[in-house]
């Protein structure tokens, strides 16, 4: 706590970049995960392959993945950003697939039969119906990403991980504690906020 109290602006600034990193990574991740999840929900034959592959990637230890990405893109913001986008795929796509796949078939049949176009069926019925489940995936991905993003401090990156890894290097427990507490608070806040959104979206 002492470091947090002594350097509130620095911790806040790192927390802000941490949030920024996670949000940008999740938005970009969703651009890939959403169509992949819809594909998995629509094609039962493709689904196990697709989700299996993403799940396998998800089980690669974060540091190992980060090491590979660093070889590829170098140090800084990019490797942790790419790692987050890759990791989030499984959690987001699984949420989308489970959500869309779980939509009441009768509503989809009725929507088509009444003359909604495929995009109207998708956005007006399937996505809206699947929203609570998909948001569950987003919540899990967000909390996990806040944690994984701390590894950014290991590759010359950004965010609260800088405090944690600098603290480890410099034998300054206060820095480690400050970074960990701030990251935990972020995760708890994100979890709570997204739970509220999820509840609001529940039909």
């Amino acid at each position: 706590m002492t470091y947090l109290l002594a350097h509130p602006a620095r911790v806040a600034a790192l927390a802000a970049t941490h949030v920024e990193l996670v949000v940008i990574a999740l938005v970009v991740a969703a651009l890939f995960a959403f169509p992949l999840g819809v594909l998995a929900a629509r094609r039962p034959r493709v689904s196990p392959w697709l989700l299996g592959t993403l799940g396998a990637i998800y089980t690669v230890p974060s540091l190992a993945l980060l090491a590979v990405v660093v070889q590829w893109v170098g140090l800084g913001f990019l490797p942790i950003f790419i790692a987050l986008v890759v990791y989030a795929q499984f959690m987001l796509a699984r949420g989308v697939a489970a959500g869309i796949g779980g939509v009441d078939a009768a509503q989809v049949d009725a929507a088509r039969g009444l003359g909604m176009s495929s995009s109207q069926v998708l956005w007006g019925v399937e996505v809206r119906q699947a929203l609570p489940v998909m948001l569950g995936g987003v919540r899990i991905a967000t909390v996990a990403s806040i944690a994984i993003a701390t590894l950014g401090g290991y590759v010359g990156g950004v965010g609260l991980g800088v405090l944690i890894f600098n603290g480890l290097t410099l034998h300054q427990p206060a820095m480690i504690v400050a970074g960990s507490i701030a990251a935990s608070l972020l995760a708890i806040a994100a979890d709570g906020a997204l739970r509220l959104v999820e509840r609001a979206a529940t039909i």
């Binding site: 009441d104 009768a106 509503q107 009444l114 039909i203």
Partner: protein
């Protein structure tokens, strides 16, 4: 909108991986304003035949004509907006209110809010539900009978040229079913909408149909009025299905029909 005729000309559908055609060379004429019941056991192809009309199932051979126009010449989405569709599972959109559900097709067709709202109230009254009590209700808070009334209201909201009903009353108890059937007859008479109605329930077919099409294994066994089926069953299958030549059944069916419809107009 004037009721449309529906014609099937040698219509065949084969699902991928199936050993036989789901429907085989079906030829059938339904006049404008007629209520035709497709009757048969599950797997006989009656639902498939129904769903070829609004192109939810594509034909592998033959044609379906709506008022003389091949439905494949029309945009599928535009076509469906002109044809009401009611299914057994109803499929009310649970993220919308009752009023929003009923107004789905009017909204798709670009009706303005006031016209849609007036139409919603009109339809709620038509299906026997109080607009003030039901308008803003969630579909999750409706009984099975109420939900299917909304399903019917939704299907006919934009005054469709034809109405497709796939075992719509199969999931409600018999008391509710009878009242729904009675209302359907009243509504169809009032709107004069050409209606294709799928059921496996012989009594229901006899109560509702202007004409009954008996189907089996993807083919038509016989087409005729209820009286014709009872008097002159074309095949053994039809005879056994309707218990033709059994006076008790004959009297029962015809009495049931008359009770529901009132004396013929």
């Amino acid at each position: 909108m004037t009721p449309a005729s529906i014609s099937f000309e040698g219509a065949s559908v084969r699902y991928s991986g199936a050993s036989r055609n789901a429907i085989e060379n079906i030829t059938l004429e339904c006049e404008g304003g007629e209520l035709v019941v497709l009757l048969g056991p599950s797997g006989c192809g009656k639902s498939t035949l129904l769903r070829t009309v609004n192109r939810l199932v594509p034909l592998d051979a033959g044609r379906v004509l709506l008022d003389g126009t091949d439905v494949t010449q029309l945009d599928a989405v535009e076509l469906r907006r002109q044809i009401g569709y009611v299914i057994q599972a109803i499929g009310l959109f649970t993220h919308m209110t009752v009023a929003q559900n009923i107004a789905v097709v009017p909204r798709l067709l670009g009706w303005d809010g006031a016209t849609s709202a007036a139409r919603v109230d009109e339809l709620l009254q038509l299906v026997g539900l109080d607009p003030t009590a039901y308008r803003d209700r969630s579909p999750n808070r409706l009984s099975g009978g109420e939900a299917q009334r909304i399903g019917v209201a939704r299907a006919i909201a934009a005054k469709p040229r034809a109405l497709l009903m796939d075992e719509p009353f199969g999931a409600v108890d018999s008391l509710v079913r009878t009242s729904l059937q009675r209302e359907l007859i009243r509504i169809v008479r009032e709107l004069r909408t050409t209606t294709l109605f799928v059921t496996h329930d012989v009594e229901e077919a006899f109560r509702l149909a202007d004409r009954i099409v008996v189907m089996r294994l993807g083919r038509i066994e016989q087409t005729g009025t209820p009286e014709e089926l009872l008097a002159k069953p074309a095949t053994t299958y039809v005879r056994e299905l309707v218990h033709a030549a059994d006076e008790v059944y004959e009297r029962y069916y015809l009495a049931s029909r008359e009770r529901l419809r009132g004396s013929p107009p």
